[in-house]
């Protein structure tokens, strides 16, 4: 075989050189082509992937921030019963006072005074309404009043409540002073918060 190759080399040197040159050219071409493929394959994908990575990071951080912002919104959405919906619970200007009076009457508590309703705007369609009351009665009545008020709606909150014995010698008779608070939500705000009126 080697001798044949030697003969081939001697006899067909030009053809052999041509074939070797072509083979080398093909190899070089292949190598360059592969190298080019490797480089060009790496470059656009690297740019694209970098871009994708940046966008993904930006979107991820935006979503994380959005999720943080949504936490209190979801809490509010999950506790709709804590808010006075004017569409279903009525106008607080009249109903708030009526409910308090009804509760004191039901509990047998003597309502000594009930103040005007104070409004504080939290946002468009959302207000904080407060009424200050003073009443007295036996401790059982006070407890009954507190329970009645809570049962009539979970949206009644005591901003503050002070209970004092009316007479130190009869501690079962209590004087009650406190501010009851509700957070009212107009239908438009309810729509915005919970997607319904």
């Amino acid at each position: 075989m080697i001798s044949r190759l030697k003969i081939f080399w001697k006899e067909k040197r030009s053809q052999a050189v041509l074939i070797i040159a072509l083979a080398l050219l093909a190899l070089v071409s292949l190598y360059v082509n592969l190298g080019s493929i490797h480089r060009t394959a790496a470059a656009p994908s690297a740019d694209g992937e970098n871009e994708l990575r940046l966008r993904r990071r930006a979107l991820s951080s935006a979503m994380i921030e959005a999720q943080k912002l949504e936490i209190p919104i979801r809490q509010v959405a999950a506790s709709r019963q804590l808010f006075w919906l004017t569409a279903t619970d009525g106008d607080p200007a009249t109903e708030f006072r009526k409910r308090i009076e009804a509760a004191t009457q039901y509990a047998g508590l003597t309502l000594k005074s009930i103040g005007a309703m104070q409004k504080t705007k939290l946002a468009d369609g959302v207000e904080c309404c407060e009424i200050t009351i003073a009443a007295d009665g036996k401790s059982d009545a006070v407890l009954k009043f507190l329970a009645a008020l809570r049962d009539s709606g979970k949206y009644f909150f005591w901003k503050n409540l002070t209970l004092n014995p009316d007479n130190i010698r009869s501690p079962q008779f209590l004087m009650l002073n406190g501010t009851i608070k509700i957070v009212t939500v107009e239908p438009a705000a309810a729509q915005k918060l919970w997607g319904e009126n």
């Binding site: 001798s3 044949r4 003969i7 081939f8 001697k10 006899e11 067909k12 072509l22 083979a23 093909a26 190899l27 071409s29 292949l30 082509n33 592969l34 060009t40 394959a41 656009p44 994908s45 694209g48 994708l52 966008r55 993904r56 930006a58 979107l59 935006a62 959005a66 912002l69 949504e70 209190p72 919104i73 809490q75 509010v76 506790s79 804590l82 808010f83 939290l122 946002a123 959302v126 904080c128 401790s139 006070v142 407890l143 507190l146 809570r150 909150f157 005591w158 503050n160 409540l161 002070t162 209970l163 004092n164 014995p165 130190i168 501690p171 608070k181 957070v183 705000a189 915005k192 918060l193």
Partner: protein, 381 residues
Amino acid sequence: MIRGKMPKVAVVVWDENYRVKGIVVSAGRGGGGFTRLSEADAEAPSLAAGLAEVWAQPEFREADVIMLSGFMPESVCFELPLPPAGYAQLNGLLQFELPRRLPCPPSELKVFFRRVGTAAVRVFAIRAPQWEKVVAAVRESGIRCDAIVHPFMAVTEEFAYFPGFVPGLCFRQSEPDKLMEPALPPDEAISGDLPETVLNFAASQKWSAALKYLSPLPPDLKPQRFRCLKAALALLLVLCLGSGVALGLRHWLDNRERDSLIGQALDGFDTALAQQTQARPGLEELNALAVKMLEATGEIDPLPGVAVLTTALPENAWIINFRSGGGGVMLTLLATGSSGPLVNKLNALEGFEVDSLRQQLNPDGAVTVYATLKPKGEKQP
């Protein structure tokens, strides 16, 4: 003699009567002489027939080195002293020299030459029609060979005379350091073995460098060797190029698809980011509202505290002030006698924990207890 390991060599020689003789030899091991593998003789009505008959023997194969040599009429062979030069340069020099040496115009002749030693060229000239006859005969016989040479062109000895092959002339060196020249054979027995001479020349491979000028043959007369190797190389080349093209195409398609996918993904991200950005102000506004609403509804419910206290206090203690607000319950209690049971009860209150506790001993012996309760589980500020 042939030295070293050599391939098989086949020579076919003929004389003026078309007696054709073919010999196949291989070099012996360790640089020994030829090992004759096969011999064939033929006597045919024509050169072509004789060549074909010899070539039909199974030992004659195209893969071997094949050289044809024999009687060629209307030819002349001589040597010229020329300076050392390459074959292309020698060819140019001969264009000037030959018209003076040849018996007829060079245009009517086919001229072949090879370098002999360092400062001489051996020339063989034959009338073109005669050469064409030889070539036609070889073609007709079906032989494809490496070279067709006149025996004198193969001579490497100092003199040679091939009775029956080259009638009337011998090729000899008349004096030392003189060139070889055709001459009438001397009386003494000067002879040469034609097959041996041609074998030596064919096996020496010295002719391969001069082949273009020694024996230029038409392509159809040249042996086709290494056909499989060439085909394999061509196939490999085609495969290499094909695979390169396929790889390039695949790469291009992949790149395009990847670019498209990346573009789609980027568009998707852009859309999602735009939606997030667009929804952000509304979300922030809603968040602020929700925070305010949660803060507004974060008051403590006093009922559990009042209920627990009314039942849990000891007999000697009662509440003189209960105040809820600010996330806690502030109590002022009065205890007659020891305040220990009261404090213990406060510490054990269900749902509350004591945030602060202060006691004051009154002049009448009673104890006023100031306590702040927080719902259990609520973090201390």
